[in-house]
Amino acid sequence: MADAKWPKAGDRSLIGKRISRLDGPEKVTGSAQYAYDVNLPGLLYAKLVTSAHAKGKIIAIDLSDAESSSGVKAVWKDEGMVGGEIRYVGQVLGAVAAETEEQATEAALKVNVDYEVQQPQVVDSDSQFATGRESKRESGDIEAGLKEADVVAEGKYGLPVITHCCLEPHGQTAEVRDGELYIWPSTQNVSRYADGMDDAVGIPRSKTHVDCQYMGGGFGSKFGSDKWGTLCSQLAKETGRPVKLLLDRNIELMIAGNRPSAYGEFKVGIKNDGTITAFQANVWGTGGVGGYGMRWLPYIYEKIPHTLVTTRGIRTNRGGQRAWRAPAHPQCALLTMSALEDAAAKIKMDALEFFRHNIQLTDKPDVYLEELEIAADLIGYKEKSHLRGEGTPGSVKRGLGISLHRWGGLGHPSECDLSINPDGSVTAEIGTQDLGTGARTVIAIVVGETLGLPIEAITVRIGRNSYPASGASGGSTTVGGTSTASRLASTSALNELLKIVAPHLGVSADALEAKQGVIREINQPTNAIQWTDACSLLGTNTLVKRGVNDRNESRAKGFIDSNVGGVQIADVSVDTETGIVTMNQMVAVQDCGLIIDMKTAESQVFGALIMGITSALYEEALYDAETGVMLNADMEFYRLAGIKDIGNLKVHMMTGKKYEDRGVIGLGEPPVISPAAAISNAVANACGVRVPYLPLTPDRVLDALEKGGIA
């Protein structure tokens, strides 16, 4: 009988290899169909009507001009908003649906809204606005810890609100046919996308069909159907026509999620030998109209004996925060690594030596030590490193910066139905989604490995809520959840098949294995039957088995685990005359347990590095303090890194028994945590001063250089 446990290193034919993603051909030819691409006969286009002001009251919403606008088929206003309060620009007030997109846009502009405008508050960098409830955490005795130190380094650091800016905006296409609702959404949560829509639309969940084969990025912002999704379905029901509603880019940037800012004042106590004694932080920031929390301070070096951390949120008249790839971790990493590295610089200690010296203050010293060494080798730390500001002469300064991070990543609850058909074909069905992580490919690899078949032989069906339920893709949980469910399903189906095959090979099922397209006797591989011949023994019956990932049980059995560590080092150049920061190189060393597909795993890390570089150098949601309007709600001025901006990237995945024996652990979030912290430290190392606030734009760099010295 086949054992469901993950195969040992020597026994793997697919797991851990470099395998190209299965849906590559559809993606590179434009034939992959996204929510935005669904065109149906009679399709109407819907546009939102949104608040033009950030704060105030709605006095009236007049739809009459919009209603008579050409091509308009339906108009809707949120009656509850009349007399209601507006809290941010872009708040949804209504919607129109028209024959063409242009007509819908025109009609939406004709909706007349009367406001009673009030002065908004959007400033988040000033602690005087931090009136939210204070959360306070302490360990040891901060005063004693600071006294114990030989040197106390003080600093201010911060990073602004940034957005998800998924290239496919949020939204969906919907159609009501024969009383059933069909939805094509862009979502991270296929199985439960339609939750809550049934009451609002008046069609039960059992008659709601969700289909998302491809989606153009989520990063934590696409878990629910949102008000606009529900609206789209309602308009489809009302008009009897299919309706497409995807957010315009400016609206997407303002209301469809963002990452909270974090600013703070810090004190780090350090002894002359580099030992950290105390860490004090007073942190504030905004999640817009959403909540606020910076839970992970001090980050990684969490066993510093004396700590005092207070955090307070600022409610601002901006759209609400959403989970943004590794919520709160990148902020806590930037704040902590900056403060610690400034302390090291103050006693003229090499950063690598300093981070190593204190490694016992982390929760996995051995992993970090190993990763630090690899990262230092890959970047050429020995040859390139220098103390802060003591680099080469000339106006262009080069420097290195380090950051460490961690993440959980325990696989989510997931179910898989695995079918083996009499003709030998194999199908896996899971109600999961592929955000571009390679989820489809991972499932095929696991099933192929289990059944001894090439991945081309496996049909993977995902993206529908009619398939066995699977968790949302958030928190780096998908690969753990789906790989375990598909491993369990395919092992149990195989064992059923082995029982049927056993009499034909004259041995017991225990003595058989499925390898290289045959079922054979383990001890006598020539006693074998071809896979298709074996399957034909099923007669007319398809063999279907369900695998269920129960998080606790799977963790106990070694299928999945949680808690990984990573180290990154950045190599930058800073032009001290222009203030321009250039990425030379960046290395990421990452542990994520047993890797299913090395190729797509590395892509996750490359992608995270680039996303992190973007946040370090370019990204900031800029709001006008007077009007509360987002000033850069477009992709020209809300800038993403381009191919020229990233330097050379190197990725090293930790492999080997020690890591692989832990089982599968998620990877989406961890590598996005450190880049900004590492880059900020590299800039400080290069030019001799800390540029306290991200993004590290030329004006901020020049400003810091002008002020000089360590803050």
């Binding site: 590559g24 030819t29 434009g30 290239l167 491809y214 892509s603 490359f606 191919i643």
Partner: protein
């Protein structure tokens, strides 16, 4: 001169250069004397027709497609919303990100920044015209091999931009690739694989495959 400006740089397209090109094109439409006769004709009809729908014929991937559009409709929206040619994506809708890149008379353009009427009489090649899942071109194969796509939403635009870049620069250096396809953006961060993909495809094409 307008014609000259309208051509992307030979070394490829930079975002700025690209914008400038598009801008020059729009101005040129109003400057009749500077235009070639067939374009002048298109501009003439654009001028006198509308604001209602006008029938036009677009030549897309070698086929003539008749479509009715209001003069305000962009080439991108004509393709996506009226002709169900959805490979080119709408992302920024402002000529910044390149997800809507198509070839017009062999040159890459942001189809969100060209009116459908302007494209009449010109040869439009979209991602659908470059290969199919069953018949991938070497560049597309190299994209897959080097995993130069994640969510894939930017990918069609990049493939078109890279194909055009390779056409004009069959023997590029790594640095030329970086500046040559700087007119497109990816949020998932697929640039590392993409540089390798373009270099690999150049090798294959040089080998005559």
């Amino acid at each position: 001169m307008a014609k000259e400006d309208n051509k992307p740089l030979d070394s490829g397209i930079s975002r700025r250069g690209f914008l400038k090109g598009v801008g020059a094109g729009t101005v040129a439409t109003g400057m009749m004397p500077g235009l070639a006769p067939e374009n002048a004709q298109a501009a003439e009809s654009a001028k006198i027709q509308g604001p209602g729908e006008v029938p036009i014929t677009l030549r897309i991937n070698g086929r003539n497609r008749r479509v009715n559009v209001e003069p305000r409709v962009t080439l991108l929206d004509a393709l996506r919303n009226r002709l169900d040619v959805t490979g080119a994506k709408k992302v920024c809708d402002r000529g910044t990100c390149g997800a809507c890149t198509v070839l017009v008379d062999g040159d890459p353009i942001y189809s969100c920044s060209m009116l459908a009427l302007e494209a009449e009489g010109r040869e439009i090649t979209t991602i659908e015209g470059l290969g199919t899942p069953e018949h991938l071109n070497p560049l597309q194969k190299a994209f897959i091999e080097n995993d130069a796509q994640q969510c894939g939403f930017c990918t069609p635009g990049f493939v078109v931009a890279c194909a055009s870049f390779l056409e004009k620069n069959p023997n590029p250096t790594r640095e030329e690739v970086r500046s040559g396809i700087g007119g497109n953006l990816c949020r998932c961060g697929t640039y590392a694989g993409m540089i390798e993909a373009v270099l690999d495809a150049a090798e294959v094409q040089k080998g005559g495959n």
